[in-house]
């Protein structure tokens, strides 16, 4: 228990030096550029500017220091700051993820430390720092915020394991769809290489293999496509070779890679949602990829969206989830969208096209653009077909499509907030859009589905609501 206090005044110095250090490199660079014309005079000017800047920053930071106060009590840390825009923040122990105490060389001079408190979440506000407090104080605050540590039941038994066979690895690489990107890269490289390609190559292409130039160009494009597909498949295979996932107690061990072997240890409670993705190329074969949305522990820990299985056949999915993540279930199929949503999906996919087409009608051949209309209609229809919402127990399933079809499984306890949105046309048709926010690193994400039947939305609302 304490009343609101300021930090140590040395904070002003720390903050000013920190701010100054971000100004120095560009200033030094500028001085360096001018040094040939101005000689040593620029050095003097540089020092003067630095000094002036430091004074200004100090004045500013005095205000900042003056207006920043903090207070702590058992289970809470309170802070107030802001010169014009007053802000207040209370952090309670249950939300604290990590507490770090560290000391830099300058802080050592004053016997002060930095206390850094991280709460869960990818928002910019998820981290607070007290940069000039004495060590005993920092330890007090740490004890005040210390939540009880988790106890894991270490039975130590060896769990199930899933390995990607070489055949599956090849299929996964072959259908990954990465080659379009590579294709554009390769085409660019190829166009730069044209001058140094030997004439014998062109002879071969234009005379031996084909008779018309159109066929030659087509052949060239096909060849490049094939080459990029081959390369991307190879790269994928090398990167994901020997993919293994194993469950042990409350952890998933995932490792992959041939040359650089990567390993990830996923604590189960950090998995916020499971995403089943059917890529465009994988759809005809009925293959899916399983990924997890993971709440991260810090910014340096990459790989937030962890791949749980690069390739699974349709019938393997529920087997996989049963064995590795019995907490999630896929037994339910999402309820499709109502018929009256169909036209809205069609309009949504064609409207932008029509808007672009109208001015084009006045250009020669512009009306050819309208040939894309059936494609857009098909796309809208496709998206409508994919849309679905399902509830079972304490889990919700959203299915939707952009190009790939996604199916997201979210437990109620991991949905941070739920939003229902309607526009006048939707209200007229008794449809709503739903959006569920979840925690995911580095940034929080949300999943949404448009034009859901209001009855289903009400069910979802009641399912999520606690009163």
């Amino acid at each position: 228990m304490s009343s609101y206090e300021h930090q140590h005044p040395a904070q002003i110095l720390f903050a000013s030096l920190k701010h100054l250090s971000s100004f120095l490199p560009p200033m030094a660079l500028f001085a360096l550029i001018r040094i040939t014309e101005q000689g040593t005079r620029i050095l003097f000017l540089f020092l003067l500017a630095t000094l002036g800047l430091f004074v200004l920053l100090t004045l500013y930071n005095i205000l900042g220091w003056r207006f920043f106060t903090y207070r702590y009590e058992a289970g809470y840390l309170h802070m107030r700051w802001g010169i014009f825009l007053k802000k207040e923040r209370s952090i309670r122990e249950e939300r604290v993820q990590t507490i770090n105490i560290r000391q830099g060389p300058l802080q050592r001079l004053f016997a002060l430390v930095t206390l850094q408190v991280e709460t869960a979440g990818g928002t910019e506000m998820s981290e607070v720092q007290l940069t000039a407090i004495p060590l005993p104080r920092a330890q007090d605050i740490k004890t005040a915020l210390k939540s009880e540590t988790e106890i894991s039941s270490g039975t130590g038994e060896e769990g199930t394991e899933f390995r990607l066979s070489p055949g599956q690895l090849f299929l996964a690489g072959a259908t990954s769809g990465n080659f379009f990107l590579l294709f554009s890269g390769l085409s660019l490289v190829f166009s730069q290489l044209i001058p140094i390609i030997p004439n014998s190559f062109w002879d071969l292409l234009f005379h031996t293999l084909t008779s018309t130039s159109l066929a030659a160009i087509l052949l060239l494009i096909l060849g490049l496509l094939f080459l990029s597909w081959l390369l991307s498949t190879l790269v994928f295979m090398v990167r994901n070779a020997l993919f293994t996932i194993r469950r042990r107690d409350e952890e998933l061990h995932i490792s992959w890679g041939l040359i650089t072997r990567k390993e990830v240890l996923l604590k189960l409670h950090r998995i916020q949602a499971i995403k089943i993705t059917q890529g465009l190329l994988r759809q005809p074969f009925g293959f899916s990829t399983l990924t997890a949305e993971v709440a991260g522990g810090g910014t340096q820990n990459q790989n937030y969206k962890s791949v749980l299985a690069p390739l699974l056949r349709e019938e393997q999915i529920s087997w996989f989830l049963q064995h590795f993540l019995p907490e999630f279930h896929t037994a339910l199929t999402p309820k499709p969208l109502p018929k009256r949503a169909h036209s809205r999906y069609l309009i949504r996919s064609t409207a932008p096209l029509v808007l672009i087409a109208i001015p084009l009608l006045f250009v020669p051949y512009g009306s050819l653009f309208l040939l894309l209309l059936p494609l857009a209609l098909l796309y809208g229809h496709w998206r409508y077909k994919a849309g679905g919402l399902g509830l079972e127990g304490d889990q919700v399933v959203l299915r939707y499509r952009f190009l790939a079809q996604h199916q997201v499984l979210m437990p109620r306890s991991h949905i941070q907030s739920l939003q229902i949105q309607t526009n006048p046309l939707q209200r007229w048709k008794h449809l709503s859009s739903v959006r569920a926010h979840i925690l995911s690193s580095p940034a929080a994400t949300s999943f949404s589905l448009k034009d859901v039947d209001n009855g289903e939305v009400a069910k979802l609302w009641h399912w999520y609501s606690r009163s």
Partner: protein, 160 residues
């Protein structure tokens, strides 16, 4: 779900929005002013544009300061219950948000100079995955709500 939340914002919110609208209008006035001065000094273009700009700013300011505030006041609704926060806003695109107490990470209040003068504050509710705001509440009420939510969030805590 059927009936929306019931609490309205503080009536003084209209004054805040009115002042903000007027201030924006004044700042926007700089544009036709700059045009006029530049036109006088360097260019020789039509004066019509300055008048057009003036008219546009006038309309915008009227809408912002006089027409929208009462509408906004009417449609903003919130409820803070034991277990969840329920917010509804938006005239054309209507948004309804449900935030369970156990998901609330922290609650902030925020007030700029205008709001402070009128004794109002904005309540910011953050979960781990989203941030939500209830604008223009009485300062004391906001502080009280901040305390309430912190307390309720703590009480209904289970797992993250």
């Amino acid at each position: 779900m059927e009936q929306g939340p019931t609490n309205t914002l503080d009536p003084r919110a209209r004054q805040v929005w009115f002042i903000q609208g007027i201030l924006l209008g004044i700042i926007l006035l700089l544009l036709p002013l700059a045009y006029t001065i530049l036109n006088y000094l360097f260019w020789d273009l039509s004066w019509k544009w300055a008048f057009g700009g003036l008219a546009l700013i006038f309309i915008l300011t009227t809408v912002q300061a006089c027409i929208l505030p009462p509408i906004r006041m009417r449609i903003w609704r919130y409820d803070i219950k034991e277990e969840e926060v329920d917010i509804q806003h938006g005239l054309i695109i209507k948004k309804r948000t449900l935030i369970p107490m156990i998901r609330v990470q922290h609650v902030d209040t925020e007030h700029g100079p205008i709001m402070r003068h009128l004794g109002l504050a904005t309540l910011l509710i953050s979960t781990a995955g989203s941030q939500h705001r209830i604008p223009a509440l009485d300062q004391e009420r906001a502080a009280q709500l901040r305390g309430d939510i912190s307390r309720l969030a703590r009480m209904s805590d289970e797992d993250v």
